[in-house]
Point group: none
Chain length 193, copies 4
DNA sequence: AATGAATGAGATTTCATTCAT
DNA sequence: TATGAATGAAATCTCATTCAT
């Protein structure tokens, strides 16, 4: 593991548990076993590290959502796949997610802009599969797409506040639960599930 | 409006838009048109102001939920009332809610403990109405109470990230949407809705 | 006990244990069960209270030393009486003494001047009885008066660092010890003791 | 002279004349010609500097007392050597001593503990040479060891209040005076001096 | 005589960042 | 690549004192 990655990993561990402002560059370099010089050789600022953490995660989540979305399947099957991938991301990127949802507003403007775009792209994938489902007659015609999108995102995103890999339910159980819960509200005919 | 309230209001405005750490006591007293001495005469620390903001909100939300819960009605009617009150809180306490969900982890231990208790009490109200609904045969028998509680909370809480009083949908529309969305997933027979 | 005395007493208790700077006017008024207004009604400043504590003590000590010195007795008997009174003051004014020797340098110039004069007057009494004793042939001819004065003062004053009314030795035992110790060094013929 | 030493020296000069609380970090860095950052790069707190000053002095004094004590000589010769070294310390470490006796109670607990131990070790050396002298028949059998120890310490320590290197008496004259004064009170037979 | 809200200067400490090596 | 001493702006909080009531 090279120094750059060691710094990112240490920052991630610290920021996800203590928060961006509570973590000083001093603490990071001490945990990463390097020096101030080492840090600033690889990053132009503490904020850049925060950006890296955001970017790694959203890039991965977006890629997974796009892959799921591109499968030539019915909207129902596509949204189920998207949700399944989405929920599983919370298992793979737990620490990143805490940072992503808790510290995003600390990003400098230039970084925030980049992240925001990717986040909107992610949201659009969900909106458009809902749109396709309604058009295809699989989803309820009276569905408010915007509100449904936000409800789904909220429900799943909130996991960052409580999901525990060692908790009562496995990530797959949680995924299945969410899919069931959402599809009940979205599908015209639940029996097709 | 006395100085104490003016300080809380200024703090709320600033923290909800800029974040706890970005807001200095200097900024607060400048906006509240007082002095550092004035600030520390009324509060023992900046953190105490943060606590006040949390406490005012959660105390109100909890009170409303308890009132809704105590109505002698069926679990279906009770959960609908609870959800309706809950969603409307986001209209009345928008700024408080941003602070509540974004800055809670900045509370000092002593304050955090108090808030945590009230938050858990709130969660329990939802869990137990779900329990009652299942027992009464109104809600689906296979419902996972814990996950359903978290799904509902997540869905609604997430509003703090996007709800805009001047946005496309009124708070009542949003409330109705959430009730419809959730009840579809929870009820045994949606036609009873 | 009137408010003024209650304030002095509370200040004395606090300053003697915690030190002048560690004791705020807030603490004093809280212990004295009064208010800022009450405090500043009776004293023009916190420093004036410090002065009062100094003055009460040095005025008493000086009075006792003068009384002992004025007895028409031999230098030997006079110095023994002076020492005995001096040591006993440490029992009566323990808290005052801690403040006197620990906090004198915190006195404002105007107050310091007054205290310094009384302190010098006290020292002069000892110097002059030593002088009389040497002249009378009772004390050693080769005695350096200044150094002997400082040695005696140091020895006794140091008690403020260690004297404990509940300790191994009573105040009278300590007094007798000091008298014996000093007289051995001072007298021409110890057998006359 | 490196920055760390320059900070200690400036602190020593300032604290010994103005007192710990009257000296701000601002003043120190201004005299030491550095910045607050420079100060806190080398010390974790203002209190740590105070500790350094205490420790340098007591470590030296203790070392000298131990060396004097370890000489294979009679108790009489040993105590004379200890006293001589002790008094001379007041010439070498005048500023340190003012701080040591005036500001020790301002040390944080962790630091105070360390200093206290060394101070007690120093006191024990005097107590035990007195013990040896009594046992050897050189010192008076009726000597109260504890009180004698405190008398000797007080007498010499008090010098921190008055000793002036440019004063009437040289440090060697003062040392000889104290030795003579103390030995007169301690020895069985003064003629052996 | 007594209150306590309000002041504002100043205290200690933190921290991201720079730079000579 | 990497170091760590040094910076200085800014943070939170304290405190003796004032003053309208």
């Amino acid at each position: 593991m090279n120094l750059r990655d060691k710094i990112i990993q240490s920052s991630l561990d610290l920021i996800s548990t203590e928060g961006y402002h509570a973590v000083s560059v001093n603490k990071i370099v001490s945990v990463a076993n390097t020096s101030k010089g080492g840090f600033y050789h690889h990053f132009s600022s503490k904020n850049e590290v925060l950006f890296e953490i955001h970017d790694v995660f959203i890039t991965y989540a977006l890629k997974k959502a796009r892959e799921a979305d591109k499968l030539n399947k019915s909207p129902t099957k596509r949204i189920i796949k998207i949700l399944d991938e989405f929920v599983h991301v919370f298992d793979l990127y737990q620490a990143h997610l805490s940072v992503f949802y808790q510290e995003a507003f600390n990003l400098d403007d230039e970084y925030e802009k980049i992240i925001k775009e990717k986040r909107n792209a992610f949201k659009s994938i969900i909106s458009s599969v809902l749109y396709d489902g309604i058009k295809a007659g699989e989803f309820r015609q009276d569905l408010n797409i915007d509100l449904t999108t936000m409800a789904i995102l909220g429900m799943v995103n909130w996991m960052y506040k409580w999901y525990d890999p060692n908790g009562k339910n496995t990530i797959s159980e949680i995924s299945n639960f969410y899919i069931d819960f959402i599809m009940h509200s979205v599908l015209v005919d639940v029996k097709t599930l």
